[in-house]
Amino acid sequence: MTREYVDYIERTRAQYAHLGYPPYTWVHNDDVPPFTPLAKALQNCRVALIASGGIYRVGQIAFHFKDDFSYREIATNTRREALRATHFAYDLTDARTDPNVVFPLDTLQDLARLSRIGELAANAYTFMGGIYSARKVRDILAPAIADALTKDEVDVAILVPV
């Protein structure tokens, strides 16, 4: 199967150059990522959901658009009618109609009911992924979410980027 992918990085370079900005320094990770083999069957795993599509719940403070590296804790029994989406870099139309396109909460709850996974952790964690500072993500946001996952005693984490 060969097909052409959207060259987002090249198109972003072209757009920013056209607007008179210097080129963005993209993160490039050459290391072999840390790898832990799955120790038990998925049917026995507690699964965490982490998503960067700018999802928040009614009653929470929404994300802002200037290097916002805060996160939201969303109870995984939250109904989809209470979920909202805010982000500067993608068309929110479908996410606002059906948050599962960027925050597959119902999808995972259904799979837990069908015993394809053990359970969904009590909380999901969300943020607004348009963060220009890779340092803030690497050194502050990612470790904070990792700590939360450790406290939640999850077995695996599903990261859903936008």
Partner: protein, 116 residues
């Protein structure tokens, strides 16, 4: 990013986990994603999922490219990068203010920057 295991879905931005209101497709995508947890053995592997957004790839031509019908010169149409919360609706702003008045948002986690 450099995750231990990844699956790639060649859909437009904002559809990482499937198409709107297509529960069957969303479920297939997630089952494939979960199965990567035990079937991918080589760190850093990215497995492409077989689902297509449309019968052709015409949508890709329009990503981040100006509308060919517009006047030609590309202007800055990006959303302003503001530091105030960007609510989906005015009702959400009112609900958040009520939370704040009632002791604050305990599930909103604002992290402190620690400059190196």
């Amino acid at each position: 990013m450099n995750p231990p295991r990844a699956v790639y879905l060649d859909f437009p931005l904002g559809h990482t986990a499937g198409k709107q209101d297509d529960k069957a497709l969303q479920r297939k995508i997630m089952i494939d994603t979960l199965s990567a947890l035990d079937s991918i053995q080589v760190p850093g592997t990215i497995r492409e999922l077989p689902y297509r957004w449309a019968s052709d790839d015409a949508w890709k031509d329009r990503v981040m490219r100006p509308d060919p019908a517009s006047s030609g010169k590309q202007t800055d149409e990006r959303v302003a990068r503001v530091e105030t919360p960007q609510y989906q609706s005015e009702d959400d702003r009112v609900a958040a203010l009520a939370t704040l008045a009632d002791g604050g948002c305990k599930t909103c986690v604002f992290l402190e920057d620690r400059k190196p």
